[in-house]
């Protein structure tokens, strides 16, 4: 199905080298979209709005702890056009950088020294699959099985087709599969809603815009098991009645995109008349929010929509749309193969096995597939143990804020974490030892949200900036000996962000500061 040419605006701008006047005119002429609107789209996305930038250096917590600042300093000193950027989903392989549209990892001072002034001389490998575990069992022990060989395309789709949509949805329900992108919403609910809609046009969308700081497990699934992603998408599309599948990959995911393309080519015509459309993100964490992602697919700025209506009702081009995270959809073929109950039984305190992306102060950062509900101590045991003394950890990415060391035995699942006002989210687990200043860590995460807020609504647009400014003021005044009341309004601002923001980014963005203040009051002068 051909859609209006507005959807072409982002990639045409990319092809014309990013945001500059000639590009805007050319894209406007080619698509029929007004020049100002084309400019607006280009200005929103950071991989488009500064065409001269050569190198972006990740400043996520794990990369900062491993020397991102030094990499930036050396790059700038060498005359390379450099920018700090938000988490590149390579926290297990720090320091990650983006050169043009290619991700490199393990970059350090030496790599920058040997590059000299030539950005192309940075001696660091492209991002390859990171460490995973455990790898000592077979497919019946894992919902996904990152270490296992790829399966031929179409086998589980054929099995699903003999079951029929109602039975498939029933197995998904029994499995208890919850969204693994951050929201934890029961998957079957969305399948049933889209399946039950009588629209003749429906869509399935893959959310591969992994951007939650601390998270890189979707990258691993795409690099290692793209077969499961395609098979899951095909099963979903057949079940709900869609023929077009849109795969939105963040623009920094050159490696995962290549892996997915290879899998599509290898699948041949195993998926019949299903069409996979690959769409490159252009640099905006907010496009991980499903309605912002849909807006970006439609060729617009990635600004979230008010819900209701929900995408299952009115989604891509206002049609019923099933949106799924990479890990979630990759669990589907296993459920078709061995049943929903099998998947549920893999879990401990909740259904299913779960990918945990672990980084920070642990011996072996990586992606670990374990029963849902393991504790931090168990997770870290798989990763070779702690480096230093555990002080704090993010249980689920930046949006989940911090928990203190004494929560190390709490199950990391969708329920138990809610009891302490946080959540599993994307399961991007970042471990911090006693060397970390919690006020500094909180400020880093506030700066992330400030850089990534779309700006549509005041609680978040103003709130994220206010909180970061106040954290900076507090840090500057700290140790000055006098009154430091910079954080006096945090409670009110955080409350309004939680109540008044349109989307989850605004709802969560204060959490790093409020949780740090709650669990480490002594570090905030209380």
């Amino acid at each position: 199905m051909v859609h209006d040419r507005r959807a072409d605006v982002p990639h045409l701008l990319q092809e014309h080298g990013g945001l500059h006047p000639d590009a805007v005119r050319a894209v406007s002429r080619a698509t029929g979209v007004a020049q100002a609107e084309v400019y607006g789209v280009g200005s929103f996305f950071h991989l488009l709005n500064e065409p001269g930038v050569q190198l972006r250096v990740c400043t996520g917590l794990s990369c900062r702890l491993r020397g991102a600042d030094e990499v930036i300093e050396k790059a700038i000193a060498a005359g390379i056009q450099t920018r700090a950027c938000s988490c590149l989903a390579a926290c297990d392989l720090p320091v990650a950088v983006l050169r043009g549209r290619t991700m490199l990892h393990g970059v350090d001072g030496h790599a920058m020294d040997s590059a000299g002034t030539d950005v192309n001389g940075i001696a660091a490998p492209a991002v390859v699959p990171g460490h995973i575990g455990p790898t000592d069992r077979g497919e019946e022990d894992f919902g996904i099985g990152l270490h296992l060989p790829q399966q031929p395309a179409g086998a589980m789709l054929a099995r699903a087709q003999t079951m029929g949509p109602a039975a498939i949805i029933d197995e998904i329900k029994t499995s208890g599969l919850q969204g693994r992108g951050g929201a934890g919403f029961p998957a079957f609910f969305k399948w049933r809603a889209v399946n039950g809609n009588d629209s003749s046009v429906k869509y399935v969308v893959l959310n591969a815009d992994e951007g939650e700081p601390g998270t890189f497990k979707d990258r691993e699934v795409l690099l290692r098991r793209p077969d499961l992603v395609l098979e899951g998408l095909a099963i979903a599309a057949w079940t709900v009645g869609a023929q077009d599948i849109y795969c939105y990959l963040r623009g920094e995911f050159d490696g995962p995109k290549a892996a997915l393309q290879a899998a599509i080519a290898k699948a041949g015509d195993a998926y019949g008349d299903l069409t996979f459309h690959l769409h490159d993100g252009q640099g905006a964490y907010i496009c991980g929010e499903e309605t912002a992602l849909i807006e970006a697919l439609e060729g617009k700025q990635g600004k979230p929509r008010n819900k209701p209506p929900y995408p299952t009702d009115k989604g891509l081009w206002q049609k019923p749309t099933l949106v799924h995270n990479v890990e979630t959809i990759a669990c589907v073929p296993g459920i078709i193969r061995s049943g929903g109950q099998w998947f549920a039984d893999l879990g401990r305190t909740g259904p299913g096995s779960k990918l945990y992306a672990l980084s920070g102060h642990v011996a072996q950062p990586g992606t670990y597939e374990l029963p849902l509900g393991v504790s931090l101590d168990e997770l870290v045991a798989h990763a070779g143990g702690y480096i230093g003394e555990l002080k704090a950890f993010c249980p689920g990415g930046a949006s989940a804020g911090f928990l203190p060391a004494h929560e190390r035995t709490r199950p990391l699942d969708f329920k138990a974490l809610r009891e302490v006002d946080t959540f599993l989210g994307s399961a991007g687990v970042v471990v911090l030892n006693e060397s970390v200043d919690m006020a500094w860590a909180a400020r880093e995460l506030l700066a992330f949200f400030e850089a990534e807020t779309c700006g549509q609504c005041a609680p978040c647009r103003i709130g994220t900036r206010m909180l970061r400014v106040k954290a900076d003021q507090w840090l500057t005044a700290r140790g000055g000996g006098g009154e430091n009341d910079a954080l006096g309004l945090v409670d009110d601002i955080a409350w309004e962000m939680f109540e008044g923001s349109i989307c989850g980014l605004g709802h969560a963005a204060a959490a790093p500061l409020t949780s740090a203040m709650k669990y480490f009051p002594e570090e905030f002068g209380a």
Binding site: Y39, C454, G455, Q456, C457, I462, V469, I493
Partner: protein, 370 residues
Amino acid sequence: MSNDNQGNEAGTPKLKLDGVQHAIQPGESVLALAKRTGTYIPSLCDDPRLDSVGACRTCLVEVEGGGRLTPSCKLEATDGLVVRTDTERVGRHRKTLMAMYLADLPDDVPGEELQLAAQFAGAPTDWEKLEPDRASRPGDTNPYIDFAAELCIACGRCTRYCDEVEGVSAITLADRGAKVTVSTDHAISLLDSTCELCGGCVDVCPTGAMREKPPLSSAPMLARGAAPKLDRVRTTCNYCGVGCQMDLRVDPAGNDGRGKVVRVDSPPPGTKPNDGNLCVKGRFATEFIDHEDRLKQPMIRGIDGRFRGASWDEAIKYAVAGLKGVQDRHGHDGLGFISSSRCTGEENYLVQKLARAAFYTNNVHQCAAT
């Protein structure tokens, strides 16, 4: 059918707003219902002529059985809905939100709508100010419209008006986060864009960020709401035949007490025939009223090529003599009368009457006649 004690018929769809039952008009939002029934819900990004976007968050209300506060501009009024705006939660939200808006703006915000919303909410005005990070467009030499980014709250009313009402999409919300501002393509001047200088963006701006530039001839910049001493005179624009209604804002002390028109405001949306919309001529081209070169009497050009003043009588006689002279030399059809669709229907009637009945020619036309 029996009526309940608020005069609503049994069986019609109704909702409860702050404890009071109201009948619902089909398709209206809770915000529209509130406006219609006299409950003030502040809103900054909404406009009856535009699609609702729920972006400014000012109109959030509490819905019984709901979770988070909901934007009333996007909430459809449905039978049985119970909505409250008078709860502590809504009160805290309004107060805090408006305090955040004010902290992100300079001290003196000319826009009445924002001032009213902030006062209604009881918002503290003493929060430390954020330094704005939004780009203006200082080199834009267009004569009428100025954009002061430090006053912008990114409500998008101006850009949506430009898209949905004027249909030219000359401006957009550009950039991301705290940098979001209103911009043209690469900050080109409005004169180089598709902008038609209709001034709708100025009319809808709730803060005064979009504002008129000082008139070429005189007068300090008058921001919206900044001159309560101006009189408001509803009149009909005389630039063309549509008959748009507009409000002249008159300084009663100007022109030595005779009154001086200093600006034009839109009448409210819904005012017929133009729904509050104006064009560049009606909205901005008012300087002719007091211009020193404005003709105050008929002028006749003499043999020496210079104009001299004449009476109406003299002028009409002179014109008639000239026209009849053409007919004497070339016959009745030597004359043709061209009028304009920008004249009113009545004026066009008179022109053709003049042509046919007074000058005995059927040579009369105007651009809308085909």
